[in-house]
Symmetry: C2
Subunit: 288 residues, 2 copies
């Protein structure tokens, strides 16, 4: 069931991206935008579509914000992979944009993907004007210097810090770096429907943290071929991770607790939210 739904969402998002990017000028930056948005789990876009469905909104209507958040996420990866940032050559099993093209193209590709996210989320078919304005404004806040960029800045600062991060600090870093966009995605459904966002905000906070802990566990236990990017990097770099702070068993226990918290937060929705509960379990169990 979860697998089918994720597959359906990924298919819709992929086709939509082909169509949107196909309407842009035929230049290397646009080819790189297509490369950067290809593949991946589409977890964020899936959360948009699934939380919209939970509020009676059809996947086709939720597709624009779903594609938007995938563009936003892809932009962050393209910039994060740059030599002056994480310096990664491999992403989703493919050469990163600055390897396949060059650094300048990677900077511009990320920039244009961020713009495209705001273009998509404010498209007429997304819904009434207040929904479009709210989705854009909340996406901007989640992305910027009090959200994702803050998390990335804290991450970079941690690399040159003389003492490893505490659990509190690494949690704050994660809440920005991956948590903010996951939370936006999960709250998109109630926002589109004008419903209360609190239950899905609580779900997303736990989910986002569980996601990052699972990532740190994968960095230890995964192999690069399955994960699609270099593994063991954070450990080799001596960076504090949830695993280094909690131990491998402690991290796994914490991830399981968070999955439970995420599932409990959805009680108001009853069994309608079972796909989202399965999503939380999947996020911790995934191998890539």
């Amino acid at each position: 069931m979860l697998r089918d739904r994720m597959h359906e969402a990924a298919g819709l998002i992929g086709s939509h991206l082909d169509q949107v990017l196909g309407n842009l000028p035929d230049v290397p930056v646009v080819h790189a935008m297509a490369h950067a948005t290809r593949g991946g789990k589409r977890l964020r876009g899936f959360l948009v579509i699934e939380t919209a469905r939970l509020h009676g909104i059809a996947p086709e209507a939720a597709l624009w914000p779903a594609t938007a958040i995938e563009c936003l996420h892809a932009y962050s990866l393209v910039h994060d992979d740059l030599p002056c940032m994480d310096d990664d050559d491999l992403r989703r099993g493919e050469p990163t944009v600055h390897i396949k093209w060059d650094d300048a193209t990677a900077v511009l590709t990320g920039d244009a993907l961020q713009s495209l996210a705001f273009e998509l989320v404010t498209a007429d078919c997304v819904g009434p004007d207040d929904v479009r304005a709210t989705l854009a404004r909340t996406l901007a806040i989640a992305s910027g210097a009090q959200g994702m960029v803050l998390g990335q800045a804290l991450d970079i600062a941690a690399e040159t810090a003389t003492t490893p991060l505490t659990l509190e600090q690494i949690t704050k870093l994660q809440q920005g770096k991956t948590g903010a966009l996951i939370a936006w995605s999960a709250m998109a459904g109630p926002r589109m429907a004008g419903a209360d966002t609190a239950p899905l905000a609580a779900y997303a906070t736990a989910l986002g943290l569980a996601f990052q802990i699972a990532d740190d566990i994968l960095d230890i236990e995964g192999d690069a071929a399955t994960v699609g990017k270099a593994t063991g990097k954070d450990t080799d770099a001596g960076k504090a991770t949830f695993v280094s702070l909690l131990g491998l068993d402690g991290a796994k226990r914490r991830a399981d607790e968070l999955v439970q918290t995420a599932c409990d937060a959805l009680s108001i929705y009853g069994s309608d939210a079972d796909t989202l509960r399965d999503t939380a379990k999947f996020v911790v169990a995934r191998k890539s």
Copy 2:
């Protein structure tokens, strides 16, 4: 009169930026955002405020989109100055962000400034929901792969091209690189008022082109201390510019014609638009 109005607008925008950035976390990226948005002519923000005033909207209400476009413009400069792009050490007479901090901070600073622009333009006090959504969507289109980023990509491609650009190609490049944001700024006023954007679109097209021609002339005639950035760079690099294509006198003549076109486009507004006419004259006469 023009000087007073520009001074007033720059003051309002500067104070607003201080307030907005003062509410963000106290981290290097936010300090760099403040550095990157300091100074400059604030031409784009001024156009927002002045075209809003022309439609009966007070400067205080137009301040949010005015500050937004200055953030967007500042982001483009921070990324454009990066070593992998134009590699400039000096901007507005100050060290560029990657010089004062580092490349990673410059990438993140630009990214966060772009997000901030969309946050500001969708703020509640900007106006009704349809205005906020429209301003965000048109700003996204002006910024992305069919607007500013396209212009920058064409600019980079021109550097390695074997033949210099034609007048048609350089005009297209300019329309993206500087024209799209200038056009958005000039159309913000009628958009906020729900009025026809056509006269100001025509004004902005001529103004944007005149602005770029004046920039190319300054690159030849200006001195670095007054201009606030390196001069003679485009000429030394053998890049096609409006001056290399039209000659110095021809470029000056073309700029003057465009100022006339810009002024004529405002006839519907009568003498109410005199400040905008003076702005067009200023853009060509400026020394920095």
